[in-house]
């Protein structure tokens, strides 16, 4: 599939979608969005890129093998749950949220790390499938 229009459009759209996916991931906790949707958007971006430029282009674009991304995501999600083991008051059940609050009201906590894990798993899993299909022949 070598369509000039598709390729030119995709060049722009892929970058935009990736940025948008990260934005969606980030704001997910307070506004509509989150890791799952963000991951889907990013996966769509990569799939679109693949449709326009081929599977190899997607691999060049990715920082690592999709399966590695997927594994990192799972590990991140599990680690976010392990934070519950530490903290004042002794160990809490697995995945109890831990938060750090900054003076200006901004709060950073383990659910954010968990959401990043979800994001990576969704991106990695879907891209692994799409690439496997694209590279089949």
């Amino acid at each position: 599939m070598h369509s000039l229009i598709l390729q030119t459009g995709t060049r722009l759209i892929t970058v935009l979608m990736l940025l948008f996916s990260i934005f969606i991931l980030w704001r997910g906790h307070n506004e509509p969005g989150g890791g799952f949707i963000g991951g889907l958007i990013a996966a769509t971006a990569f799939a679109l890129h693949g449709a326009a430029f081929g599977a190899d282009a997607v691999r060049r674009l990715l920082p690592a093998d999709p399966r590695t991304i997927l594994a990192c995501g799972l590990v991140a999600a599990i680690i976010s749950g392990l934070f519950a083991l530490f903290g004042e008051g002794g160990p809490d059940p697995f995945m109890t949220g831990r938060w750090v609050e900054f003076p200006n009201g901004f709060a950073l906590g383990t659910p954010v790390l968990f959401d990043i894990g979800v994001y990576l798993v969704v991106v990695g899993g879907l891209i692994a499938m799409v690439l496997a299909l694209m590279e089949e022949d």
Binding site: I24, G28, H29, N30, E31, P32, G33, G34, G35, F36, I37, L40, I41, A43, T44, A47, L48, A51, P66, R67, L70, A71, G73, L74, A77, I78, G81, P93, F94, M95, G97, W99, E101, A107, G109, P111, F114, D115, G117, V118, V121, V122, G124, G125, L126, A128, M129, V130, A132, L133, M134, E135, E136, D137
Partner: protein, 778 residues
């Protein structure tokens, strides 16, 4: 105790890495951890081991809350029985790790082997320490799985694979029965903690469910401990590397069932059913083991069958239930673990040094392998039950126990004299035959093994002699506590080599005489036994193949009907099942309260609904796949817009993205599918059938949705989440807070599914690809 189990699991996890960095010394390094754990357990001896000496019940109990909201906890108990097993598992385990380092030196998968065998060690340790039946079951199954890995270690050998599958299927199906039995036991007794069940005073023996519980638990124990008729997997498991055989047979896996039976004795034992089942199966197993041991020629096979003898004897002893029988249980268990561990490792050393384990090809090894010879001599004399070895004391106490048992005891005694005599014969087969006489060709080029191979067996065989000479040491410090744990009654054990002229001594003399005759006349005995085998023709092992082949055939037929390779058929079956299940439930429950609730239908909503109907009609009428997908994606997009219109932007975006990705993936798949099967080729009946199922399913789902919207929704949950979401989780987006915080554990499960699905699709497609490439090369 948790620390001990976790430490060994952790060691298993790092073992391959350790091995990679220290390929030549890894076994010495790795052995340090089990050695330290052994030392820790040994330090508990004064406190726990001396229960029998009048200090009363002093089991060490450790409880760790696990899922407090469900009342599930991880409970460990260290009493005499657990302590003896723990010492055997970690102590012999230490030697096994060292031995494996010598035996598998330079093997490609040596690191992987350490991982498996150390994980097995940890599982077995957890099993004997577990006080909570749930954790007991988890560890029980872990031993099945890790031993499967160990038996199939040489996975390129088909017979290894067969043996491993056999061991797994037999012990795991027994494990299922065990699970049922444990759940029933816990519910009947009102507690899932063994200590509490023992202390509760609920008399399970009088309970209506006693027989089913007992049957299920014993099924688990008997399959694990290879009692006849589940014995066939054990000798086959000899395909495993020798360190595995030595470990599984001496201390661990196969004794798990014996351990369970002993553990249950205080709560379940002492009834007639218990007595006849355990004594019956135990005695038959012991006799069968002795009989097969004499007929075998492979040193490892001979030893495997003598293990059957030991397992049968141990089960029989628990069943007998006399005070001496319980004492004999502990003594014989320890004696057997010591000599069997030594013999297996030494047999591996013979194999290593001479290149064969076939006793027909071995004789006169003494000149070349003196150290191994001494070890085998010591251990096999203990196995034969001769003084001054510990095995002799075990046999004496055993006879005392049987003489107490009354009339049925006499039959058992006669059988056990026979079986014990075969042990003497087997001892001759593994020591006298290979080591004495003129050197055979195999013995000519034999060489002695290194320190790693000899350390373990030498230590174990030496202990067998030491404990025989100074039987007070294990008697006062450990075995009394073992008896106390098995019986629930405080016992002091007083062991001596010389009991005076007793009936048991008389029986020993008869046994020895019979054993010597058996060994001297081995040639004639063997042909007689072969003749017996022709008459009996019991071959469960062959029956096993027939059973598996039969199951295979049945499932092939079923699979062919259910999975013909047409997606259409899969969809039809799936939808049909949903329709029948949902529709059936609705009919049984007497219909649904259908009504149109407070749905505010805007013009936009009607427009989108119309769009969906058009899309559906388009999909039904489509003549090519691309058309069908395009039409379907119209429906999907309309749904996404519907979500946006009715104020669920999260769901709307998700639906939009899923829709887009689905179309991309399906288009990628499309290119590889055969062309659309022409409408004309589907018979009218099939089309009618598919249509009917589709319409029925659609109608059911529609009526369910209508019913849901007609019912008043309880608002507590939404109010709860709305109120708590910012306070507890610092997030204003309730949907996301539920996903990542309130129900984060569910989400973790879901992303694991996504991960597995992604990897699965990847692996499937890549496997097809590599097959294609290989096919092209042929």
């Amino acid at each position: 105790m948790l620390t001990a189990v976790l430490a060994i699991f952790l060691l298993a996890a790092v073992a391959p890495t350790v091995h990679r960095f220290l390929p030549h010394q890894s076994h010495w390094v790795l052995a340090l951890v089990p050695a330290a754990v052994t030392a820790w357990f040994a330090m508990q001896l004064p406190e726990v081991g001396a229960i029998g000496s009048g200090h009363g019940e002093q089991a060490v109990i450790q409880v760790i809350p696990w899922i407090p909201s469900l009342g599930v906890e991880l409970a460990f108990r260290l009493d005499g029985l657990a302590l003896m097993f723990a010492l055997l598992i970690t102590g012999i385990g230490t030697f096994i790790v060292i031995y494996a380092g010598g035996y598998l030196h330079g093997h490609v998968h040596q690191g992987r082997f350490y991982l498996f065998i150390i994980a097995f060690m940890a599982s077995m340790l957890g099993l004997v320490l577990a006080d909570d039946v749930v954790s007991l079951f988890v560890f029980w199954e872990l031993t099945s799985i890790t031993s499967f890995m160990l038996i199939s270690f040489n996975h390129e050998d088909p017979s290894s694979r067969r043996s491993a599958v056999q061991a797994l299927l037999v012990t795991a199906s027994g494990g299922l029965a065990l699970l049922g039995g444990l759940v029933l036991l816990g519910q009947t007794a009102g507690s899932f903690r063994l200590t509490e069940i023992e202390a509760s005073g609920v008399d399970l023996r009088q309970h209506a469910l006693y027989l089913p519980i007992l049957a299920l638990l014993l099924l688990g124990a008997f399959t694990k401990s290879a009692q006849v008729p589940f014995h066939f997997w054990l000798p086959n498991a000899m395909d495993a590397p020798t360190p595995v055989s030595a470990y599984l047979h001496s201390a661990t896996m196969v004794k798990a069932g014996v351990y369970l039976v002993a553990r249950l004795n205080p709560t379940m034992g002492g009834t007639d059913v218990w007595f006849y089942t355990l004594v019956g199966f135990g005695t038959v197993t012991a006799l069968w083991g002795g009989y097969m041991a004499l007929r075998s020629v492979d040193m490892k096979k001979i030893l495997a069958y003598t293990t059957l003898f030991a397992l049968g004897t141990l089960v029989m002893l628990v069943g007998l239930g006399t005070p001496y029988a319980f004492q004999a249980f502990g003594v014989f268990l320890l004696a057997h673990a010591l000599y069997k561990g030594a013999l297996f490792m030494a047999a591996g050393s013979v194999d290593h040094g001479s290149g064969t384990r076939d006793v027909r090809e071995l004789s006169g090894l003494w000149g070349k392998m003196k150290v191994t010879g001494v070890i085998i001599a010591l251990a096999s004399l203990s196995m034969a039950g001769l003084p001054p070895f510990f095995g002799f004391i075990g046999k004496e106490v055993m006879y005392e126990g049987m003489l107490e048992a009354g009339s049925f005891g006499i039959i058992v005694t006669i059988s056990m004299i026979l079986a014990n005599a075969t042990m003497l014969g087997a001892a001759g087969l593994v020591f006298w035959k290979p080591f004495m006489g003129r050197p055979s060709p195999a013995a000519d080029h034999a060489h002695e093994s290194g320190i790693a191979l000899l350390l373990g067996p030498a230590a174990l065989a030496g202990l067998g002699l030491l404990f025989g000479l100074f039987s007070g040491i294990p008697g006062a410090n450990l075995l009394g506590a073992v008896t106390t744990a098995v019986t629930g009654i405080d016992t002091v054990l007083d062991l001596h080599l010389w009991h005076g002229i007793t009936p048991a001594l008389g029986l020993s003399v008869i046994t020895v005489a019979l054993g010597v005759v058996l060994f001297l006349a081995l040639g004639r005995v063997k042909s007689a036994l072969d003749g017996l085998a022709r008459v009996s023709r019991i071959n469960v092992d062959a029956a096993w193949d027939h059973i598996l082949a039969g199951l295979d055939a049945v499932f092939t037929v079923v699979t062919r009907r259910m999975q013909p390779g047409y997606l259409r058929t899969y969809m039809f079956l799936t939808f049909l099942s949903i329709t029948v299940l949902l529709g059936g439930t609705i009919l049984l429950k007497g219909g649904l309260p259908i009504g149109i609730g407070s749905i505010e239908a805007s013009y936009l909503g009607w427009f989108l609904a119309a769009l969906m109907v058009i899309g559906t009609i388009g999909a039904v009428a489509a003549t090519s796949r691309l058309q069908a997908i395009t039409a379907l994606s119209v429906v999907g997009l309309a749904i996404a817009l519907l979500f946006l219109v009715y104020g669920a932007p999260d769901v709307g975006i998700t639906q939009l993205m899923v829709e887009t990705l689905t179309v991309i993936i399906i288009v990628l798949v499309l290119a590889r599918l055969p062309p659309f099967k022409k409408r004309e080729q589907l018979s009218n009946w099939v089309r009618l059938r598919n249509g009917a199922v589709s319409i029925a399913l659609g109608a059911i789902v529609t009526s369910i949705l209508l019913a849901v919207s007609a019912i008043e929704q309880p608002l507590d949950l939404s109010e709860f989440f709305a109120a708590r979401s910012y306070v507890d989780a610092h997030g204003r987006n309730v949907v996301n807070v539920i996903l990542v915080d309130f129900r984060g554990f569910d989400t973790l499960g879901e992303i694991t599914v996504v991960a597995v699905a992604g990897l699965g699709v990847f692996a499937l497609l890549k496997a097809r690809l590599s097959r294609k490439v290989q096919g092209g090369a042929d």
